[in-house]
Symmetry: C2
Subunit: 287 residues, 2 copies
């Protein structure tokens, strides 16, 4: 496996590896790889001839006061893990190579879809994400790109961007990977102290309780307000958890739902803070 | 030459023509082709194996009250002209294929560069342009794309977009083509009545006078304010001309200049209305 730090070297390497005849899979990450990322890399390995993992902590998707500076950087370990999961190339560009000092070009999915859920508290986040993903797509030109369902809104927004800009890439979204107790894997879990970590399972417990309530066929089980209440009650059992949002929305448009209908998957999504640490999780609900 | 109206057919055709080994040149147009466009197509023919001319009147770059509905559509004649200049394919998609009803993804070069000059009176114009050009680049994936210097600000904005999004395409900007009296060719010239047409040469006369004044070495010849005055006086000789702007800016950044310096090309750009018809023209000034 090769660690490549410059765009020109990456283009050369892909050329040499026979990009064009061969399928290229891209797994965009911010590093600090865990089993969630590795599941994406393994999937990419199964479906492509060449697997590129980008490791880039993208400054433009962090708001002021967010954890850009402190976001964990563990490149050496990331390379070991990426290779073990089947990556051919780890692409780790410098921020100065990606963004010139006067860069002002943005790719944005406008509208409610990027301002609901996480977009409400992170107003510039998705514009940063769609811009860096566009840049990475232009550099790597993958046939397929892999994202985790953990960032459900991101996956929906990227799919919409790809469709609307007619980008010839297949977006593959892989399931959430969880700890034994149900906590969704996240690079930010390492910010939690042991008591916070113990209580952090409340996100999953809430979502799981909602899914069980719906599938039990109980009265009110298809009513988003009732399901949000179920989630809320579970989360509130953890005294350290501060709810940011609990929403149940259409899984494709992210629009609020009045009722969960048969054949129309809903997304139950939550964001919860433990001290400075912000965790998100979600589950697909089917009636 | 083939007229292709669907994206999937275009991708298939480019695949069959051996895109990958062969260089593809794209000339994006809104149709109503004239010698200006044909000079771009001929240049593309010289430099590439496959030449695609897109003909698409892009709704999103017209503001309310602008001439989207009345913009001349002359597809049959465009095909004859494009073929004569060496095009292999005219790509003429339907607006409904390019934009889904709920499309909200935009590519935007933010900042003064898109809000000065034409951006001042056309606030959404360049966002529409960069979005459609991105879409066309994603569909055609050209090696080179051709634009006219006539739309100088557009060329600067597109170069910036390409650089900042790391799009692997070479932007080729070709000189303005003019009528015998100096009027820059434009599809909108056909809106002019004969008296307006006669007076429309004032844009070029003004720009040419400024260039002569600068090259004469006269006192004040490198002072943008003095040069704007020279242009203004020429334009005001035409009673039907209503000035929208006369600006002298850095040719790369489009920032206002206090002084034209050796080795730093300046752009003198004008927009003038004749009744409802808006004409633009420009010239590069070198000290």
């Amino acid at each position: 496996m090769k660690l490549i730090e410059s765009e020109s070297e990456l283009r050369r390497e892909l050329e040499q590896l026979g990009k064009g005849e061969h399928r290229v899979g891209l797994v965009p990450t911010m590093g600090c790889l865990h089993e969630g990322h590795l599941s994406l890399i393994r999937k990419a390995r199964q479906q492509n001839d060449i697997v590129v993992v980008s490791v880039f902590v993208n400054p433009t998707q962090f708001g002021p006061g967010e954890d850009y500076a402190s976001y964990p950087r563990t490149l050496e370990n990331d390379c070991v893990l990426a290779e073990s999961a089947g990556a051919d190339i780890v692409f780790h560009p410098d921020a100065a190579e990606i963004y010139s000092p006067d860069a002002s070009t943005k790719v944005e999915v406008e509208g409610e879809i990027t301002h609901t859920l996480c977009g409400a508290s992170r107003p510039i986040h998705f514009k940063g994400v769609t811009t860096i993903v566009s840049i990475l797509f232009n550099i790597v030109r993958p046939d397929r790109a892999y994202f985790g369902q953990k960032d459900a809104q991101q996956a929906v927004v990227i799919r919409k961007m790809v469709r609307e800009l007619h980008i010839p890439v297949e977006i593959v979204v892989c399931p959430i990977v969880r700890e034994a107790d149900g906590l969704a894997l996240s690079s930010r879990n390492r910010y939690l102290n042991s008591e916070e970590r113990r209580q952090a399972v409340c996100l999953y417990r809430g979502l799981d309780a909602a899914a069980s309530f719906l599938s039990s066929g109980a009265e009110g089980g298809t009513d988003p307000e009732r399901l949000k209440q179920v989630i809320c009650e579970e989360i509130d059992k953890s005294p350290l958890a501060k709810r940011e949002y609990i929403e149940i929305v259409d899984a494709e448009t992210l629009k609020p739902l009045r009722h969960i209908e048969k054949g129309h998957p809903a997304l139950a999504a939550v964001a919860v803070r433990f001290g400075e640490t912000r965790l998100i999780d979600n589950i697909i609900l089917r009636s």
